[in-house]
């Protein structure tokens, strides 16, 4: 078994190849907002590091978000096309599930958080169970104040893990909640997905779609569009 994992829901994309014995190769992008140029070369890099061709990959897993839409679509479109072209099974996972999985040994209530931009966060709450974590809530989108209030209302000790926490630090500190900065990572994603491939709980490539949690912003930028596509007279 050789699983290709692609995770692009935050500014720090990553790609990993995971075999039966663990991570074979991985690559991650430190600089935000260049998913478009990073993902495919990173897949190629991992295949070369592992010394295998694309034909050796047995499954593809990809982060579905929530997260930054453009990045998510880059990861998902690449994963879908690669899997469809090789007729491979796929598994889509929420990056929030991956984040919580990264701290699965914690006994406290876990809140996994991803930056939603526009002053908001995406989150969900988890609890450790044998072999992993279990999601306790729906995926949410809201402000840091709303997250802090939700955690305070549980009356439990919590650990908040995730991305974009700088905008929530003040609110979470105020209610005495510990935070831990992290991004969902392709190697953990593939590790989390592996049992699903083993149990053949897989999807078809065309089934993979981002978790948006927000409606499309239906504003037409006529001016922007004219500038963008107008026959630049140079």
């Amino acid at each position: 078994m050789l699983i290709l994992g692609i995770e692009t829901s935050t500014g720090q994309s990553s790609v990993a190849l995971v075999g039966t014995d663990g991570v074979v190769a991985s690559a991650s992008l430190g600089v935000a907002r260049r998913h478009g140029e990073f993902v495919a070369p990173a897949v190629q890099f991992c295949l070369r590091q592992a010394g295998v061709g694309a034909d050796r990959v047995t499954g593809v897993t990809v982060g579905l978000g929530p997260g930054l839409y453009t990045g998510l679509r880059v990861g998902i479109a690449t994963a879908q096309a690669f899997a469809a072209a090789r007729d491979l099974p796929v598994v889509g996972m929420s990056g929030l599930d991956v984040l919580a999985f990264q701290v699965r040994h914690v006994r406290r209530l876990i809140a996994a958080v991803i930056d939603a931009r526009r002053g908001e966060l995406f989150w969900a709450l988890y609890r450790a169970v044998p072999g992993g974590v279990q999601r306790q809530t729906d995926l949410r989108v809201g402000t840091a104040e709303q997250l802090a209030a939700e955690l305070e209302a549980t009356g439990e000790e919590c650990l908040v893990i995730g991305d974009g926490l700088s905008r929530a630090t003040h609110e979470l500190d105020r209610v005495g909640i510990e935070t831990f900065a992290a991004v969902p990572d392709a190697a953990h994603l593939a590790e989390l997905a592996r049992p699903r491939f083993e149990r053949e709980e897989t999807q078809r490539p065309a089934d993979l779609l981002p978790i948006y949690l927000r409606h499309a912003d239906a504003k037409i930028g006529w001016e922007a569009r004219g500038r963008m596509q107008g026959g630049a007279a140079t």
């Binding site: 478009g36 140029e37 993902v39 495919a40 070369p41 897949v43 190629q44 061709g53 694309a54 839409y69 453009t70 679509r73 880059v74 990861g75 998902i76 479109a77 690449t78 994963a79 879908q80 096309a81 690669f82 899997a83 469809a84 072209a85 090789r86 490539p205 065309a206 779609l209 981002p210 948006y212 499309a216 912003d217 239906a218 504003k219 037409i220 930028g221 006529w222 569009r225 004219g226 963008m228 596509q229 107008g230 026959g231 630049a232 007279a233 140079t234």
Partner: protein, 344 residues
């Protein structure tokens, strides 16, 4: 030699397959027009979401139509600009996934050049020297194609030379805005075209900006404003406008500018024929007026059939095939350029 072309720059998810540069094997389009119609224009986030949902089924459909598999392709071509950035990224990412999976060459295609080069599927090798008018919802430009065309030179970056362009609105954008203003559906081009057939193109004398100025640049925003002002004046006077006359006269003004500027460019630059390209080249009045004018001036005219004028995947495959023949390949770092110029 088979090339698969992916087009996702605006509101059509399209895939084409071309064999040996000139033979169309498949041309499949999943249109999003209905998704954007309520907004009267293309909504970038809606477009990007829809491309991701439609792309794999469209690729499958094209492969079935061509009767071949991905492993039979010699290259994967994809529009890398100009266009909506989020929409472009879906196509480019998918193209990279396909290229990686079968270790095929990747080719980045210029959407505007592809609009011109698609003519080779119906008319064979483009015969320079020629003038091409690329006219659509996002672009309105006149370019010259001067070098002797051949497979080996088709990918040459110096092949197209920009002669003129709109300095404000694209023609298709003007059609959409006026259609919306007079209560027609979206997209506006076909609606105005239809309504204009019942009207008199000489009924109202709308302005033709920059028509007599030297050079080949155009301006269409003043025309749009004049139409709106005309309708408001009638409304204020309590007079019901004849919308068919308005549509016909507005369309005539746009067409006049395109014909005059393109033919002047062809004459001045010693270009022997004219190629019409892009979605607005589907306009029946534009096609008829160019046919008439080119005949009068002794110029050849190349007009692709309507399905090849509007955005499609075949044009990307055709342009990609030219680039493959020229050895102009992209690597997996291929980026998108929302402002990629036609020539320059």
């Amino acid at each position: 030699m088979l090339v698969l072309g992916i087009e996702t720059s605006c509101d059509e998810t399209a895939v084409g397959i071309v064999e040996d540069r000139f033979t169309l094997r498949a041309n499949v389009i999943a249109s999003q027009v209905e998704l954007h119609a309520p907004y009267g224009g293309v909504v970038p986030e809606v477009a990007a979401r829809a491309h991701l949902e439609a792309l794999l089924p469209t690729i499958d459909h094209a492969l079935v139509e061509a009767g071949c598999g991905l492993s039979d392709m010699d290259a994967i071509a994809v529009t890398s600009g100009p266009g909506l950035i989020g929409a472009l990224l879906v196509g480019v990412s998918a193209a990279k996934g396909l290229a990686l999976a079968h270790d095929k060459p990747l080719i980045g295609v210029n959407h505007l050049r592809a609009h011109v080069e698609v003519a080779q599927l119906e008319f064979g090798e483009l015969q320079p020297p020629l003038a091409a008018l690329v006219v659509s919802g996002g672009h309105t430009s006149i370019v010259a194609l001067e070098k002797v065309g051949s497979g080996g030179e088709s990918g040459d970056d110096g092949r197209f030379r920009q002669l003129g362009a709109t300095i404000d609105d694209a023609a298709g954008e003007a059609f959409d805005k006026i259609a919306r203003f007079i209560g027609l559906g979206y997209p506006g081009g076909p609606e105005i075209d239809r309504l204009a057939r019942q009207g008199d193109p000489k009924a109202i004398d709308f302005p033709r900006a920059m028509l007599h100025e030297p050079g080949y640049d155009m301006s269409l925003s003043g025309l749009k404003t004049a139409v709106i002002r005309y309708l408001r004046r009638l409304e204020a006077a309590g007079t019901e406008p004849d919308l068919a006359d308005v549509a016909a006269s507005f369309q005539e003004a746009i067409v006049d500018v395109q014909v005059v500027k393109t033919l002047r460019a062809a004459r001045d630059e010693g270009l022997e024929r004219v190629v019409l390209a892009g979605g607005v080249a589907a306009n029946t009045r534009l096609r008829a007026r160019f046919a008439e004018a080119c005949e009068r001036e002794g110029l050849g005219l190349v007009v692709p059939s309507i399905p090849l004028c509007t955005d499609n995947g075949a044009m990307v495959a055709a342009s990609g095939a030219n680039l493959l023949a020229a050895g102009t390949l992209a690597d997996l770092e291929l980026g998108v350029d929302p402002n990629l110029p036609l020539a320059g």
